[in-house]
């Protein structure tokens, strides 16, 4: 009898292990995009273009009313770090977008305009920017906002131990004068940002800075709260974690929370742009599968970033009388990359990224083959059927919303299997043994492997479709088992392997179109290991002072670069998804920016 109990304990133990194992296999690692439809729906959805204007009109029809509570829903809880310099997820951004502000922010056409800074002057060689701050801005606790807060924020990001404490935003500080010396602990003085007086602040950069306004657009945190706290303690400090203690200048303050369930924002009555109309905004964490039901019965009022309404549910939501929809293109895209080069074992072991050591990946390094594959895939059909038409086919790896995107500079690669066949024939890949699949020019069997991660269900669903399109032009595809994201990224990075094709998605920032982080040959995220000197040179030239201070010059360079990209084709861009925001008609004053739903929430009001 007693012996048997051990059996049970062991059983329990095995159960635990099996949980662990199965969890390893089939859970999502990136919670940012969730879609749950298979690509069967054939019906055409009529395009509903951005109807921002329409809602704005309505807002002006009758006058705004004070008061009311608004409830928004997101499908995953924020990790709980409500501090602009330490947060990492879009879910926290949903709260910080209400509570914190930056000196400058972007408008509809992605130009930077005044926010906490009302005015600025940039010196001739773009190494210094002096900003005049708004006076009369108060923090949520009543303290005045001054230049010292700005200095402190950038100093915190530049300080030694910031990265070790979990910070990742060094890109905003590392171009400033004295960053190296301050960050290494050589000196306690940081010269990069200087408060001239209470309401004037100057940023000094070591080199002429083309993206100077983007670099000063970081959200400001209060010096009087964090000033005396060692940087390592900030992430676990109450002012980072706890409602009531999180202090910003934004129109709403973080008042209360039920962790992982509800996050309550209350209006900041002394908000400098005017008292917000709404009393409260509540974020509720709601499972994706229940969200639409709650939107329908009025328990929640809006669904916005990061995931919005799934494309598959667009029709359902559009059919609800009391729900309005705004659809706009997302920043970012999904792609099928070609592993043009692989790294050597030695380089992977030592973590070296040196394009001179790279080994060409046979077949994938053949430009004609890459182009042929592009012609073989009907991307429009993928958008129509997988995304239900709520997305677009793009041909350049720059978000369409940017001034830098140039549709005319690129080859469209519209679906053309004949062209694909012709290109493959030209490259010498023909079916010599009559098995229906092409052989390599050397007459050997040719199998191309396609690797993809789990986590984004649309992307998962697209993999077998891509394989089919490619097989249709006689390319034998080895569709590999999908891998869970963390494991996939490791294999994608350590590419001393046999990988040929890979799927990945990028969400891009709205700040600047510079593609160097993804496509320059030395870039870690250049997973294609694309090595093209012409591309590298164009990317560099586009950021080269002083020519690059002129946007039209950059436009020209990016347009050239896009045509190089499109011809050499290190990756086939599959689609850019649309963001679909749904909100209750009683909500007025909504005016989303191209990059986010939350904009001027102090002007939101509800009709009662």
């Amino acid at each position: 009898m007693v012996k048997r109990k051990y059996g049970i304990a062991i059983l329990g133990f095995l159960f635990l292990l099996s949980m662990l194992l199965s969890a390893c296999n089939n859970e999502t690692a990136d919670p940012t995009e969730e879609e749950k439809e298979d690509p069967v729906g054939q019906e055409e959805t009529e395009e509903e273009p951005e109807d921002t204007d329409e809602t704005e009109e309505e807002a002006t029809n009758d006058s705004p009313q004070m008061g009311g509570t608004l409830t928004g829903a997101m499908d995953t809880a924020p990790a709980g770090v409500f501090n602009p310099i330490f947060y990492q997820e879009a879910y926290e951004a949903n709260i910080l977008d209400f509570t914190h502000e930056a000196l400058v922010s972007q408008n509809e056409s992605l130009e930077f305009e005044a926010n906490l800074a009302k005015d600025w002057t940039i010196n001739d060689d773009h190494t210094e920017i002096t900003l005049t701050l708004e006076e009369g801005v108060t923090w949520h606790d009543g303290e005045p906002f001054t230049a010292d807060d700005v200095v402190y924020t950038y100093k915190a990001i530049a300080s030694p131990g910031y990265i070790e404490a979990g910070g990742v935003r060094t890109e905003y500080a590392n171009k400033l004068v004295g960053y190296e010396a301050f960050n290494s602990g050589e000196t306690n003085e940081f010269e990069g940002v200087v408060a001239e007086d209470d309401y004037t602040v100057t940023f000094k950069f070591t080199e002429p800075n083309v993206t100077i306004l983007k670099d000063v657009s970081f959200s400001i945190i209060p010096e009087h709260i964090f000033g005396d706290i060692p940087i390592a303690d900030i992430p676990s400090h109450s002012a980072t974690l706890d409602p009531g203690a999180v202090i910003g200048t934004g129109p709403f303050k973080f008042q209360d929370m039920l962790e992982r369930e509800q996050y309550v924002l209350a209006k900041h009555a002394d908000y400098w742009k005017g008292e917000p109309y709404l009393d409260q905004i509540v974020w509720r964490i709601v499972d994706q599968s229940v969200m639409l039901g709650l939107l329908e019965n009025g328990e929640i009022d809006f669904i916005s970033d990061p995931n919005g309404v799934p494309a598959a549910d667009f029709e359902t939501v559009a059919a609800l009388d009391h729900i309005e929809i705004i659809e706009q293109t997302d920043f970012g895209y999904q792609l099928m990359g070609y592993k043009i080069n692989h790294r050597t074992d030695a380089d992977v072991d030592s973590g070296t990224l040196n394009q001179d050591n790279w080994v060409a990946n046979e077949d994938m390094s053949e430009q004609l083959v890459r182009q042929a594959m592009a012609y073989a895939i009907d991307r429009q059909a993928i958008v129509d059927n997988l995304l239900y038409g709520h997305g677009s086919v793009i041909n350049a790896p720059i978000a369409q919303q940017f001034w830098a995107y140039d549709e005319d500079a690129v080859t469209a690669y519209s679906y053309d299997p004949d062209q694909a066949n012709a290109l493959l024939d030209e490259a010498g890949y023909v079916d010599t043994n009559g098995d229906g699949y092409r052989e390599t020019p050397d007459g050997e069997e040719w199998v191309v492997n396609l690797n993809y991660p789990t986590g984004n269900q649309l992307r998962e669903a697209s993999a077998p479709i891509l394989a089919q399109f490619l097989e249709a032009v006689g390319i034998k595809i080895d569709l590999r088992q999908p891998k869970e994201m963390s494991a996939y990224v490791e294999d994608l990075t350590n590419d001393n392997s046999d990988w040929d094709l890979y799927l990945i998605g990028w969400s891009l920032g709205s700040g600047d179109p510079d593609p160097s982080g993804l496509w320059k040959s030395g870039a870690a995220y250049n997973f294609s290991r694309w090595n093209n000197p012409e591309s590298d040179q164009l990317i560099e030239e586009a950021m080269q002072a002083p020519d690059a201070f002129d946007q039209s010059y950059r436009e020209e360079k990016y347009s050239e670069w896009q045509s190089v990209f499109s011809e050499d084709l290190p990756a086939l861009l599959l689609y850019a998804q649309n963001k679909i925001y749904g909100f209750h008609e009683r909500l007025n004053g909504v005016n989303p920016m191209p990059y986010r739903f939350i904009n001027d929430p102090h002007l939101w009001w509800v009709s009662q």
Binding site: M1, K5, I8, A9, G12, F13, F15, L16, L17, M19, L20, L21, A23, C24, E27, T28, A29, D30, T32, A79, G80, V81, F86, Q88, I163, A165, G166, V168, R169, T170, E171, P235, D256, L258, R260, E261, Q262, V264, R284, I285, V286, D287, V290, G293, L294, E296, N297, E484, M485, S486, A487, V489, E490, D491, I504, W506, S507, L508, A524, Y525
Partner: protein, 322 residues
């Protein structure tokens, strides 16, 4: 008896120790680490940043070194800091969720017992009656319906359409206290509790029915009847005690299952418990959290089995440990 309990508890220690080594080793063998998942979230972030953090968190150290560091801090009562939740303490992360999970687990177990045992007994006493057939039918349906599906149907009908129960979470508004909060909590637990307890209810009912039937047909019950003992005496004094033994075995096992197996229910109802945290920590490679939860579940399963053993001897005096 006490000697037995102490001996069992002493055996826990090497078992837990072995558990930590295996779980730690397996977690480390999985490719990627806590930073690989986030490293693609924003291409503007220099990957060098993650390299510095890896070094700072000690993720580049050999596995035995990492294990030793972890076990020595646990021995000092420090469960460490999460790698994913920006360094928040593991103990703090688990605390709130553990309470939620325990409430839900006990609540659903209570529903299970209150529903399953009386129906099981009734079915056994009146086999092939209308109630017996409906209970059997319900039992099979309960076993066959997947948790998440039942949960979604329940939310759709009872919560969205009829508005009787809240659909998500554990409380209506933050900051509720006292009796009001208690009632609100129960109100929130009803749907997830039923969903979680559904399969258990069906199982227990079937077990109870067959055990009672089995015992009722045994020789000593016939003897009791022959000497003229009343039916209720037979049922409560002789039958139930004997019929409960397998149920207790099940329950001892169930404690662990209730706590770790609630992942899907927790997800559907957005009920923040241990299950969802465990799952997300495994996918995020957040070892400190994974290890802490594995330890807690391990302890609970061991304790559950020990409790079951102790209950045997209380219910059935013939079982003696020494």
């Amino acid at each position: 008896m006490y000697k037995y309990i102490i001996r069992r508890i002493l055996i826990f220690i090497p078992m837990l120790f072995a558990l930590t080594i295996i779980v730690f080793g397996m977690a480390q063998l999985a490719p990627g680490d806590a930073l690989t998942g986030v490293s693609l979230s924003d291409p503007n972030i220099d990957p060098e940043v993650y390299e510095i953090q890896r070094e700072a968190y000690g993720l580049n150290d050999p596995i035995p070194v990492q294990y030793f560091r972890w076990i020595s801090s646990v021995a000092q009562g420090d469960l460490g800091n999460s790698l994913v939740f920006n360094g928040r303490s593991v103990a703090e992360l688990i605390q709130a969720r553990l309470a939620n999970t325990v409430y839900l687990g006990l609540f659903s177990l209570a529903i299970t017992i209150i529903v399953a045992i009386p129906i099981g007994i009734y079915s056994a006493r009146r086999p092939y009656s209308l109630l017996d057939y409906s209970a059997t039918g319900f039992g099979f349906i309960g076993l066959a319906i997947p948790n998440f599906f039942f949960g979604l149907i329940a939310i759709y009908v009872l919560s969205i359409k009829l508005g009787w129960f809240p659909a998500q979470g554990t409380l209506s508004t933050p900051g509720m206290t006292g009796m009001e909060a208690f009632i609100d909590r129960i109100h929130h637990m009803i749907l997830p509790g039923i969903t979680l307890g559904l399969a258990g209810t069906a199982t227990y009912m079937r077990y109870m029915r067959s055990e009672v039937l089995d015992v009722l047909g045994s020789d000593y019950i016939r003897t009791a009847r022959a000497k003229g003992m009343s039916e209720s005496n037979i049922l409560y004094k002789h039958t139930l005690r004997n019929a409960l033994i397998p149920i207790i075995t099940l329950m001892g096992f169930e404690i662990g299952v209730l706590l770790s197996g609630a992942v899907i229910t927790e997800q559907v109802f957005q009920y923040p418990g241990l299950g969802t945290l465990f799952l997300s920590s495994v996918t995020n490679r957040d070892y400190p959290v994974v290890m802490a939860i594995a330890m807690i579940l391990g302890i609970l399963i061991l304790v559950g089995n020990l409790l079951a053993d102790i209950f045997y001897s209380i219910i059935d005096p013939r079982i003696r440990y020494d």
